[in-house]
Assembly symmetry: C2
């Protein structure tokens, strides 16, 4: 997931939900248009109109105006509602004989035709004002009208409440874009990115530098798109990120770089991953982890829409180990609880066989989550779904047990649980009436991962059953820190690979472990998580050539020749540096 | 040529020329840093320094500061000059025994090593101030020092006056970037683009929308880069420009779009054309040609560096026909004269055979340019070069004659020129002593094109010989208008092709000619020319589906199926619209 997805959510928050209103909420749109500026932009400079439809108010009474827009609808050949990018206004179609041609133009043009109308801003007759419409106090008495372009019969109406299939929306993207929702989303994104630029460039001296996108391949990372060059057998590669360029810019003394950078990953399309995407790409010299965190908090605070609750900084933070132990994931959704609890000690003397077996192993644990009101809201088929999910996605030693807290505990294993265990469990997990507990046993990471997934599945299920668990208006940011620097390779567990990328600097306190127990070294990597989605990530980089060479060559067994240019650059006075990238969708186009 | 090239020239104008100074002009850099903002950015937020090296002045006297930077040079182990992205400052190395370790750190680190130094800002002793250095009144009495990264022996010194080959500069790009000139250029570009964004987004309500770069091929235009997809035999195409996207955005009612857009052309690298480049891409609804011109003039005026003479708007304009007749090109360099003059009438009765022949043909003309002081400054080998150039690049009917104005005219043809012709020529071309006239005969376009090229060659030659013709500080903008809408295909002159692209709207006064003499139709296309380089171009687009279909199908014989989505979009209420793109280099990275 990228920032863009929650931009859309922000957008939805600003307008009323689609399908629940018959009136586009242009009012909230024009309010947010002042976002990125102290002054309201001139929307009618350089063009053949004097005003936009949406901006007209009682203060314009008596003014002669020229408007350009689309015919939204017509009522009894008397009124016409004209729409442009800023809203709707009512046009009074003249009825007198002398204005026959104006009348004809306005009455005969099909809906969604483009017209230019000149006339006078007049007050609506008493009692005919429309308080739901920002321009509802006035109307335009048309004097001239010109048909600029006629519209054919539409495949769907341009109204937010008209439901369209995704396929139809994509086929007629240019019509879909006319909806107030799409207009709002695109404008909101533009304004937020502009505010981010102001913050970085104007307030904090960052330099916006464009890096090449047709470049040579670099080792590691995601699969890259290749672009055949004019020389047979030679290819450009589209970048996954400007990582190496920005590090070289720091070596070049640029001090503070940023770019709204287009990136590419040839990994096939998934709902949360597109082949091309955009990131706010940032790098700074002489900075530490805290510095980058403060920068990003300031950046988001500054660019946050004014009509939303301001963000509270600093954002909470959590180590990777804590996130895994408590939420079973490195990107916890902290909008709700249902945390994982280690209940190994409760079952040290259990008679339940699979718990016994699990605890007998060197790293065996018993873990559980308590689903509040789960016994009340979840149905038998839900439980079945959860059991199947656990069985399907995890190996057999991981098995859930379901305990029902309604008076007496209901579970296939209930009779094997002693009263003492029951009391201790209730105390540890704060179990209340109607709760449900999901219990599993196994190795720490595996048990946590399973419960982390079940936690989200349960939240989805509870919400389907009508229990509001995650407030859609809540934006719960979280830093996840202290990731391991290396992971054991899946296909060959005695070898190491970078948890993120090989340029991440080790935690200063763990440097000595690099030479003894590298798998225990923490990296100076940080992820920014929002509502359970990773929306940004970055690290302090290695600026010491010798250390970088040791990690690449000795620990990761990489061919250093492919990265010799970077290693050489580090040798020529590279400053300490670090950065971050925040994902943005490629717009809603 | 793109805007970027003259950005570099602007940069050069701001600093003193390379090679003529031993002191980087950091002063002018920090002045221009306030360009894009009313407030000076905080350059030391979030990092381990209190100040930048370059910002310290007498007003900081007595302050304890922490600085991070590169060791520029050291004098007698007593002084050290520290450099960061904002300038230079002198560090006083402590000499007392108690500070031995600080002294050792600062004296032993090689040049270009990265250090952090803390100390007190003190006044330099009387008489030791350096007025050429912005920080020349003060120095830092070092108290602590830390070596952050040592630097190996450099391939070249980081000083603007040290000449480096282009190859060496590219190999060690990160070292080249440390020069004040490169730092300045990158910062200037960032600031100008930010100002352009402010102008478009904040002042005039444009929406910054990112369009896809992995998309399907579109017919016509330059050769596109293809990107193999995961589906065998299917390819993405990298866009030459977001032309169709921005038109569809207008149909979508976005009203005002802009994008700093990466574009691609697979045409091989040339000095003025790279496979990837960036353009400021703009599109507006309800606009005419004048509207776009005003917008661009305002945009450049607003983003122009403050320490340059402000631009004067409106820019002069010229029709394509006039540009060709007067300058022999569609992108005239109007910084100097040497205009083409039609002298056909002078030679109606000439005895010179090739002029006779030329004038006897239906469209035959005789043309000339007068090279002021050409006879004085140009040498025999220059004349030889010009003759060869003309012979080599143009067909044989085009031949130059050289007339020497020093007292008697010197030319192989001089004896065939009558006194009357001589007087008339002198009057028409304002020939003075020591001038040289280049004369040619042939068909209008060909004669003009040749003289247009010779005009530039002569200017180059005169400048090599020491005559300053084109002021490098002059920025001479020019609009070129009224281009033909179609050109005869070179390989098949009875067929038409678009002079620019098939979406350009015809001139309103010429619509009727579309059906009778389409080759005479002028298009609503405009080019922006700066000092003889096309830096931007755009047009009012066709918004009428029927007209667009007629031009594509009947006149251009294109397969309309490939553009059916655009034709369909025009049918659903497309507003009148137009736009422009201004070229920007991809930065100096």
């Amino acid at each position: 997931m990228y920032l863009g997805s929650w931009l859309n959510r922000l957008g939805r928050g600003l307008s009323r939900p689609i399908g629940k209103t018959k009136q586009p909420i242009w009012g909230s749109l024009s309010r947010s248009l002042t976002l990125s500026s102290q002054r309201v932009p001139e929307f009618s400079s350089f063009v053949a109109r004097t005003n936009t439809c949406g901006e007209l108010r009682s203060s314009h009474l008596g003014q002669e105006v020229t408007l350009c827009g689309w015919i939204q609808y017509r009522r009894q050949n008397t009124f016409l509602v004209l729409r442009d990018c800023h809203g709707l206004v009512q046009i009074l179609i003249p009825q007198d004989e002398s204005a026959a041609s104006v009348r004809r133009t306005l009455c005969e043009a099909p809906v969604e035709s483009v017209v230019r109308v000149s006339g006078t801003v007049i007050a609506r007759p008493l009692g005919q004002e429309n308080p739901k419409m920002p321009t509802g106090e006035i109307e335009i008495k048309a004097k001239t009208a010109e048909l600029l372009n006629a519209c054919k019969k539409l495949p769907f109406e341009i109204k937010d409440f008209v439901k369209k299939t995704e396929a139809l929306r994509l086929q007629y993207r240019y019509l879909d874009l006319r909806s107030s929702q799409m207009q709002h989303n695109l404008r909101l994104r533009s304004q937020m990115v502009m505010k981010m630029r102001e913050y970085l460039c104007t307030l904090h001296g960052f330099v916006d530098i464009e890096t090449p996108t047709l470049f040579k391949r670099t080792p590691g990372g995601a699969k890259e798109f290749l672009v055949p060059s004019r020389e047979p057998g030679r290819f450009y590669s589209l970048p996954q990120s400007p990582q190496q360029f920005k590090q070289l810019l720091m070596v070049g003394g640029l001090d503070r770089y940023f770019q709204v950078a287009r990136c590419y990953r040839d990994e096939g399309s998934r709902p949360d991953r597109q082949p091309e995407f955009t990131q706010i790409d940032i790098e700074m010299s002489f900075v530490d982890q805290t510095g980058i965190q403060h920068l990003v908090e300031g950046l988001l605070h500054y660019s946050w829409p004014e009509d939303k609750d301001p963000l509270v900084a600093p954002f909470p933070s959590m180590t990777f180990a804590e996130a895994l132990a408590t939420y079973g994931t490195d990107k916890p959704d902290t909008r709700f609880g249902m945390k994982i609890v280690d209940i190994s000690d409760v079952f040290r003397n259990t008679e339940i066989r699979f718990l016994q077996d699990a605890l007998a192993k060197p790293q065996g644990t018993v873990k559980a989550i308590c689903v509040h009101e789960g016994a009340k809201y979840l149905r038998k088929e839900d439980i079945e779904f959860i059991r199947k999910f656990a069985a399907h996605h995890f190996s057999q030693e991981v098995l859930p047990i379901f305990l029902n807290a309604r008076k007496n505990w209901s579970s296939p294993f209930a009779k094997f649980i002693t009263e003492e265990e029951r009391l201790e469990l209730t105390r540890l997990m704060e179990i209340q009436e109607d709760d449900m507990v999901l219990l599993t046993a196994g190795q720490h990471e595996k048990a946590c991962s399973l419960l982390g997934k079940l936690r989200l599945e349960c939240a989805d299920l509870l919400e389907t059953r009508g229990l509001a668990l995650r407030d859609p208006a809540l934006f719960s940011f979280l830093w996840v820190l202290d990731f391991p620097l290396f992971l054991a390779k899946e296909e060959s567990p005695t070898e190491l690979e970078s948890a993120h990328h090989p340029f991440t600097a080790p935690h200063p306190g763990d440097i000595h472990l690099l030479y003894t127990e590298p798998e225990k070294v923490r990296g100076q990597h940080y992820d920014l998580v929002l509502n359970g989605n990773e929306i940004g990530g970055g690290s302090i980089r290695i600026h010491d050539a010798q250390l970088q060479r040791y990690i690449l060559e000795t620990l990761l067994k990489e061919d250093v020749k492919l990265l010799s240019h970077l290693l050489q650059a580090l040798d020529y006075g590279a400053p300490p540096h670090g950065g971050i990238a925040l994902g943005l969708h490629c717009g809603s186009f």
